[in-house]
Amino acid sequence: MEIILFKLAFAFCLLSTAGYLLSLLTKKVVPAKISTWILVIAFGFLTINLFLVMVNPAGYIKIGSREFFSFCAWVVAGVYLAFQMKTKTRILGSFISPIILLLMIAAAGRESGRSLVPEDMLGWLTLVHLVLVVAGEALFILASCAGAMFIIQNSLLKHKKSSHMSRLLPALHDLDRINHLGLLWGFPVLTLGLFAGIVFAGYTWESGWPGDPKVIWTSAAWAAYGFLLHQRLAIGWKGIRMAVISCAVFILLLLSYSGVRFCFSTLHDFV
């Protein structure tokens, strides 16, 4: 049952991404509107899928397995759809949906139900750590995508290019607001997620974890986001500067979660 739901969710994610990209290429809003509803359906299938996994007596989400990545895709899609309802900037989906699809592709390449976390590490703190970190990242992804769109729109307006693309992209002020909200909500959520991880590691791993490359990179990204939020709230940074730095920090975050995994040995590798 779960595999059928996953396949359906995957197919709808693929359709949604294609629709959003079509919207970007044809500079028409209708495909983006349809894609949003397709993504809602994909989100629905993923929700049922994850619910069935959760109620499975074998345990909750298996870290590193298919369910983990589909959970990440579910959180990113959920955060985007919630933002979408509030801001009505459908074209943001053209930037977010490929990320959701990538997560689903990663999930499809994994084995279902295979736990990559030792049994003794399973506990509610791991779950809290996992949920909050993924949710925090999803919000940062959203903030960075808005930043990327801001950079494009800013460039078009600065160079006086009244193109179809400019009409399709949301107003600068709206994009800046999405970036602001993404940071404002993402930072405390990520902080709490990291805190749960630290507490858990303090009890379980005892020593060695503060020097773990993934922890260091994540802390660097967390500090960078903290710095950004501080500059925005206290100093009043806005607009293009925030957009550029958000994108740069997002790349840093990507490195921490993928690059480090392949280049360094990390305690977060449970294989």
């Binding site: 307006l157 006086k160 400019s166 107003a171 600068l172 940074w237 293009i240």
Partner: protein, 420 residues
């Protein structure tokens, strides 16, 4: 025959348009008087600042067309030369095409403008009130509205602004999204700045500050917009508050320097700032546009956008013309359907079908009759039916021609429910 006579900005100079406009304005019952002219069956009178037209359905005689032209010329006090040189006359398919193009704003001075459709609708409403339209013009007008709607929704003809002030408002929306709650600073009390300010006020800006060398002139404009006036010395402070700045003074040097923008930028907490410089020579240092989160557009930039949009509209107009042609074809097909011959065939088929069904029903009590008696009854029924149909069919045949018979054919189809 459908006939359309009139003049517009392309065929008549302003003086002639004014004369005809004034003459026709005095005649509030023009459609009624038109239908009283011999040979005119239906009429609608359209009058806008750029065109005056009469749409009619007339009996297909050339003489009626002359009467129509003389009527319009006399209403506006036009000389015979003016009437000959300025008035255009379209018949049947060309009249339909012209009306559809007018409603779709393809014949307007500013192609794609949205006002004309409302004006055609108003003209139709007035004609309806005066009961001067009938089946043919009603259908034609509804088709014209449908064509205009299709052009509006299926092409981007009205999407891009084609005036400098509208282009400025559109850009402001691209930067700020909604303009509600935004503050506008107008430097100088020029006409162009006033016009752009008016558009911005109409789009919901919360406040307007007028800065001018002459405080008195600034106060007059500020009062008009319910804003406040400041002197040019207080420009720095006003720039701190403003989100949108429109400048159009006659100053020979820069009023707003790049340094001033940099200075206020920090006080503004890096808020987005849209500078519109419509003055020649320029009021705002071009370097100000390089400051982050500041977007500077001068009159040439805005004019380039307008030109670009105008070209885009011309491209969209090709698509719109195709839609118009399609709708003209549809309408002509409908008119041809109203041709008498298919209607006569439909009428005969319907009656024969009724006779057949009734004979089947009567089968139960006719079963005792022999074959000869049955045939006699059928002959009797057919004879009555043929006699009843004779007059309607004769009248339909007599009236048979493309537009002329439309009225009676439509009525016949309605009376016998032939379209069901």
């Amino acid at each position: 025959m459908i006939a359309l006579i009139g003049l517009n900005h392309k065929t008549a100079p302003l003086a002639v348009r004014e004369k005809l406009f004034a003459g026709c304005q005095e005649e509030s019952d023009l459609p009624v008087r038109l239908t009283a002219v011999c040979g005119i069956r239906e009429a609608m009178f359209l009058s806008t600042c750029n065109r005056i037209e009469i749409l009619t359905r007339i009996d297909g005689q050339e003489e009626t067309l002359y009467k129509l032209r003389d009527f319009l010329a006399a209403s506006g006090g036009l000389t015979p030369e003016e009437a000959r040189d300025c008035l255009y006359l379209y018949c049947d398919e060309n009249a339909v095409r012209h009306l559809f193009r007018v409603a779709a704003s393809l014949d307007s001075l500013v192609m794609g403008e949205t006002q004309i459709l409302g004006q055609v609708k108003d003209a139709y409403r007035r004609a309806l009130e005066k009961n001067s339209t009938g089946a043919v013009l009603n259908r034609l007008l509804h088709r014209a509205f449908r064509t205009a709607k299709r052009v509006r929704s299926e092409t981007a003809i009205a999407v891009n602004p084609v005036s400098v002030s509208f282009a400025a408002v559109t850009l402001a929306k691209k930067i700020f999204g909604s303009l509600t709650g935004k503050e506008v600073l107008v430097i100088g009390a020029g006409e162009m700045a006033e016009l752009t300010g008016m558009h911005l006020v109409a789009n919901g800006i919360s406040g307007i500050i007028i800065a001018n060398r002459s405080q008195a002139q600034a106060s007059v404009l500020a009062e008009k917009f319910h804003g406040r006036a400041v002197s040019l010395e207080a420009l720095g402070e006003a720039l701190t508050e403003a989100d949108i700045v429109i400048s159009s003074t006659g100053a020979s040097s820069y009023i707003v320097s790049a340094d001033l923008i940099r200075q206020v930028h920090h006080q503004r907490k890096n808020r987005l700032l849209f500078l519109i410089d419509i003055a020649v020579p320029r009021d705002i240092d071009p370097q100000a546009g390089a400051v982050e989160n500041v977007y500077l557009y001068n009159i040439d930039n805005l004019q380039d956008i307008v030109d670009e949009n105008m070209n885009a509209r011309k491209k969209e107009a090709l698509k719109a013309e195709a839609i118009v042609e399609e709708e003209v074809k549809n309408y002509i097909n409908w008119v041809k359907e109203l041709d008498a011959v298919p209607t006569i065939v439909l009428l005969r088929n319907k009656v024969e079908e009724i006779v057949r069904l009734e004979l089947v029903k009567a089968g139960s009590w006719m079963k005792d009759m022999n074959e000869t008696e049955r045939q006699k009854v059928e002959i009797l029924i057919n004879s009555i039916v043929n006699k009843l149909l004779h007059n309607p069919v004769t009248v339909l045949k007599e009236e048979s021609s493309e537009f002329k018979s439309a009225d009676i054919v439509a009525l016949t189809r309605q009376l016998f429910r032939l379209d069901e």
